[in-house]
Symmetry: D2
Subunit: 483 residues, 4 copies
């Protein structure tokens, strides 16, 4: 059965020979490094869940008929997409951070559909190649990281107009067996925890940008590939030996800058090369699939924040105040709104020519645009209920100090029976999610992950049927046409 | 086939002997009175659509197997609920107002499910009785109005505690063949355009309020029933002979106060009598079904407002301004958010013990709470784009005046080719929807229809799974319990 | 003493020979026409208050030393501007609508300052001329209407580029004694209740638009001037003999289209002619002064809406519900925010070269941009608390009907002691302010009066000191410059 | 002259023998400890500015006639309060954090006024005593920290009802020369950087809580006083030797838990003892004065965030995108709204019986309630414009690494001429302000500092004149009274 255990995954990651740097130092083992460990554990949780909650976390491969991790599955129905959204919410609840495996899942679904379309137009053989790659992913239960965003240089210029041609990843040389590429991909979620890198163009391209219309996969340990780990607020609290202060004891999201310095890609791992009219289409489809995912994962993270806030209110004896109840209801309302639109986008999914299913694109963009807003309000309400102590709290070492520890225990205790440490742990968790490493996942990534708000506004304008709306309006006031 | 035409419906309405008052005068024919006519025409449009768009507007009766109007259908699957939501959006687009038939539809679905539950508990025979009533509705293609909200008197007192016992409709006498009831139902949507009145309790009841736990149906022309038509902003513009000034040329919503002054209800039309524990359940189920409906109809009305706004921007030459494009995108975004949550509530619908399907109640309440907010912002943006002329515009009679008409035509014209009258018609439509009769449907009803915002907040708090959220949070910061 | 009574004002208006059309009919007496009467009464209230609250409503003329109506005063200090804002709030509370006299007040303050600047640059004599005009205004206690907005034709073209040159008011002929002008001014607040028309350009102009750089005053009854009264929602309720249904029993705002069809302007009433670089400056100064005014008048109207909402909550027995108290607090908070920024803009006013004082322009624009938003939210909350009955209420004639009147009285009564009519009157007032004639003043005019939101955003960007903010930021992260 | 230099201040702090703990370790010198140093530098900046911008940062003492730091001044006019607000904005711009000295300033102004009132009622001599204390503060140019918030234990119980009586600071013993107190004060802003502690009750008190009605001052180094420094997100980045990663290179806010373990207070430093009816009044006055201050300091911090955002947009070449310009205008608009209401609260200040001036309390609360909201939206917009790189950026050590440094420099550079380090510094500053130590000051403290949102809502409800508003409404719809 192509499902490996959490421990097997972590072992595979320890053995992966990829080149990772964190704050100027090369990392020996990603899961064992205190900074990057929690990120690996979040990814590992997707393996754990497949073992322990198989009904939601596994699916039947349409290629092999085998039971596979749902994160490696090609969606075969709207119900499959709904299950994805529900699964992502569950993962968000378990980890309270970005668990990183959905980007790859959404990428394989997008490349699967678009390679079919390219082949139909150009008579190429990308789709079969991709299916082979996919079978490998599924059968070994490994993680492909989605690599899309280029560094972009001067944003007012197209790829080929850049002074430094490498600002968009591109083919620098063609060889007999493949191509050599150069460039960098930014913000690569879970990159350091992935076995393969699935690279896609980052924008619509024109004929003169043909060399940038390249999609492919290479193993993470390929020569020329370097990962540079991104810093997060409070990241080095993980280096302290004071566990409660870290907030989220187990998990964290992570992103990296991935440099491709003259990397060789063999022909059988190339899924687009020069078919520039399909670059935009691939970007849009991936964006749509991924934007819907945010209505799963971020909602699950929101659940944790709501739960932590309800718990701290109880711990502090304010849970029966009418304004606290109202604010909690508002947090839930906003969170469920996010989820609702994602579910709708999933349930209204449509079949692609390749046979797989993709989300409703308009609703996917609507979902994501709300995601760029509501988590900030939910966080604000959480901080409102939690109280200012969240950011003025002594450290756990103060509590354990022989002289002053008693003061902390006495004056930081909550309502009857709630110890200062219980209160501190909950406040640190809320701090983590709204101002710490967790806030990267819950807030900033909610704005920019899967594309920034303006990208969603543009897609919403493009996808909405304003023409019909106009004609309804004209008709109701007795007009045929404007002019 | 149990489907009648729009004309047959209007004829039936003309022949209906119900007692209707508008502004102090009794009405002879509801569809022919200039004030109430547009309301009847909106209801009639549900007949027109069943004839012309049967795939969406009709369904197969699960009782008789016959093709019936979808508004008379008991939902047999989540897909049926999704179709309902889509149908309501389509109706909203066609009428730009409340078309009134969904309240009855949601009521029959709710009474259907709850009578089954009552019977299961008490061994009564309500469900079969109700099915008979329903067959009559379906086979004659007639409209039952949902009658729920009582006048309520002093809101701090329960029904039986009221000084005036009639502030909640109740049984005043039991006879051999039935009961006699007294009271009034407020805000009865489409009441004057309905053939039957389907009466339900308005709140959860306790043992001492047993006499108020009464649900039944009577024909609209029953002795003792009086309808008093509600006033709307700009309602009397319909009396003027200046059609464009009315904004929406054809349609309008309507509500009435329905008085039950010692009305006899025969036993075979009684669907609950004294089973007070089920009163709250019926209210909640109807509320949930109906709250989801708002994510259909109001979204369709929103489409018209978006269309009218896009059209007036074009007419005035501002459609390419970046802030106008951004505001239109925002209007669409908000409107689709409303729709998305409704679709999710539908798609996640679950089977009731009776076999029928009902919406996901949490999402239904979330849907409606957004409805109490977003249409106001959409309206504000529409007015922003439309410009102040919307409320300073001369009347159509000024334009047709021999002396000053030329001034109006000259100075009110839009960009090249757009006549002053075109501009006026569009502005009057937007005025209708944001400050006129249409605003009753689109704004105020969006707050209070199917229950006020606070009712949704209470349900959201009750239905959300905060306990699981709390336990996820505790676990992530290393706690078992609070105390 | 140059102060006339309310009655004298109304008499002067009756005697004014200006040409006014309402819905296709010429009006004999503006204050006596049922449609336009309430507008005249609102203006008349400024006379009433000067008599009864002279400490706030009068000032000492800096030209003559005489006690004058503050609406005719040139601001001599920040305190004068603060008093203006406070006076406008008081007027808003008294009338619950646009009382129209502030536009003229803000216009005379702006023309006063800018004519001084023009003279300083060009050696012209406009300022002295304008002082003469102003003395006349002050000594006769008459009203000048501010006439600014042109019809604008195609908005992508400048005045001189328009196909129809009259889309911006302009000089069509120069005579020995003055000039002849043609064009139209839209949305002229209180125009039909004013004795004089003070005309200004509507935008910044370039050399080729020199003929449009014209500012002047003419009496309202001047030959060639025609007023066409704008329609408002529910305007014809005033024609019914059912006073309570009208909502606001006494007052209303009004706007008109004012056509200048070859109107002669004598030289001594011309205040700008061809000095195009000052057109934009005049517009900006008037806009700033007027934008601050909105933080007075609309706040007073908001007070009435808050008061009506608090009263209906009490009448319906919901005033102690925590969510109602919270919503009322929010309404107050938003309303006071509007007022606060206006007061700040006034208190931070600065002296112009002419010696008069003008508001802080940045804060004036900030004030107005909030005005384009908060009244909509305040209205939504008012409707939330008021309940749906506001738009489903029978008419007063139903209550007085011999047969059904008792039903209305019984079922529409509020909590103990509150009659149905009391409840109806309050609900009709809220309806008036949020969906009726009052909503024109409170909502739509709050968006577009004194310039639309985008105009404020542009000014805010222009007036804010972002350069200093940038340099603070650079310095704190250790940078000198970006490049 | 009673003004000391920044260096003299820092020396005084080094010599202060107060007992401070940070993360379990006692601190030798607060300004020299890497964690607490930036906090001391922010406070020190108030000394620097008094020297370099004396016109704004100094005032004339009304007690001694000498030139003093404005932070030690008792407000003598509304203009004095306006200057305070402007000064605080300037300080916010200079430091981008909480500079801590305003709490003491607002406290001395409040105790000054209320001691006068207590004396008037009880014939006590607190006011003269306080003036002596104040002269000492002014003449030595030292900082008193405002100590108000108690630990509060079970919030549903009053102080004397607590199981642990020390949950509110109280008198435990009276001696011949003074009293002995016990308890703790939380969130004490700038406590560790202050020479004196000015202690006040935290809530309204009743007769049975008389022992808690205690106000006094003691030097920071008094026996029994312990400071425990609060943790902040990313606080330990200051321990790294990688300056740019810290974001704000120079400054930071700080709070501490201050424990009073049987601390002796001499009689001449007691300013309230047992006069419980004045406890609430002191709290309200301090709250009002301090709530207005937030419309100065946070606005200045907002300026820096706006400046940093404008700079990064320019650095990344997106500053001309219409949506970026719109978002920046919105950020400015929100920031200026905050400032406007504060200025209004100041300009409308009124004289207290003591002769000093205090803010308009209604506007002060309105100001602060906006502060609990807008900085979150400003931050969200800043993150939107900044881009996701803010949280995925490599560290400065990666850039300086011999092997991978070139990748960072190449792929992290901005538009032409903007180095990767410039971009990193700006992004780290925005990170600091929205997710790091600066976010404590700008976000969480904006909610809870000077009292939480609900406290403002309660005061707004209490202070607003709803009675007049109601009577205006009743009158306009023709009613005298409700019943």
């Amino acid at each position: 059965m192509p499902l490996i255990s959490k421990e097997e995954y972590l072992t595979s990651l320890r053995q992966l020979g990829h080149r990772v740097f964190i704050q100027g130092r090369q990392v020996e083992s990603v899961p064992d490094n205190p900074i990057s460990g929690p990120g690996a554990m979040a990814m590992a949780e997707t393996y754990y869940q497949a073992e322990h909650s198989p009904e939601l976390f596994t699916a039947r491969s349409h290629l092999t008929g085998e039971k596979i991790n749902r994160f490696a599955h090609i969606q075969q129905s709207p119900e499959d997409i709904v299950k994805k959204v529900v699964m992502l919410r569950e993962m968000g609840r378990r980890t309270a951070c970005c668990f990183q495996r959905c980007a790859g899942m959404d990428a394989i679904n997008s490349v699967y559909a678009v390679t079919y379309d390219i082949d139909a137009q150009y008579g190429t053989k990308y789709h079969e190649r991709f299916k082979e790659f996919l079978k490998d992913i599924q059968s070994r239960d490994i993680v492909p990281a989605a690599c899309m965003t280029d560094s972009k240089g001067d944003r007012s210029l197209s790829p080929s107009q850049q002074e430094d041609q490498d600002q968009y990843l591109h083919v620098v040389e063609e060889t007999k067996d493949g191509v050599i590429v150069r460039g960098a991909k930014l913000h690569i979620t879970g990159g350091v925890n992935s076995h393969e890198l699935l690279v896609m163009p980052t924008r619509a391209l024109r004929a003169e940008d043909r060399d940038y219309a390249i999609a492919f996969a290479v193993p993470a340990e390929t020569k020329g590939v370097t990962f540079i780990y991104g810093r997060q607020p409070s990241d080095t609290r993980r280096l302290e030996n004071r566990r409660p202060d870290v907030g989220n004891l187990y998990f964290g999201g992570c992103e990296a800058l991935v440099v491709f310095n003259d990397v060789f890609v063999p022909t059988d791992r190339i899924f687009m090369k020069g078919e520039y009219p399909f670059a935009g289409r691939l970007v849009e489809l991936f964006a749509a699939n991924h934007r819907t995912s945010y209505g799963g994962c971020k909602v699950g993270v929101g659940d944790v924040l709501i739960g932590a806030t309800a718990a701290i209110a109880e711990a502090q004896g304010t849970d029966q105040a009418s304004h606290v109840k109202d604010k909690l209801a508002e947090m839930i309302h906003l969170n469920e709104t996010l989820h609702g639109v994602a579910l709708a986008s999933a349930a209204r999914g449509r079949q692609t020519p390749s046979g797989s299913f993709a989300v409703d694109q308009l609703l996917a963009n609507v979902c994501k645009l709300n995601i760029t807003r509501f988590p900030f309000e939910i966080s604000r309400l959480a901080q409102d209920i939690a109280g200012g102590l969240m950011v003025t709290l002594p450290s756990i070492e103060d509590q354990e100090h022989p002289e002053i520890g008693e003061y902390v225990k006495k004056y930081m205790a909550g309502k009857a029976g709630v110890s200062s440490e219980t209160r501190m742990r909950l406040l640190r968790l809320i701090e983590n999610m709204t101002l710490g490493t967790g806030a990267v996942s819950y807030l900033t990534e909610s704005i920019h992950g899967a594309g920034s708000p303006q990208a969603q506004k543009i897609m919403i304008t493009r996808l909405a049927d304003v023409a019909t709306a106009k004609s309804c309006a004209l008709s109701l006031c007795g007009l045929q046409t404007l002019v």
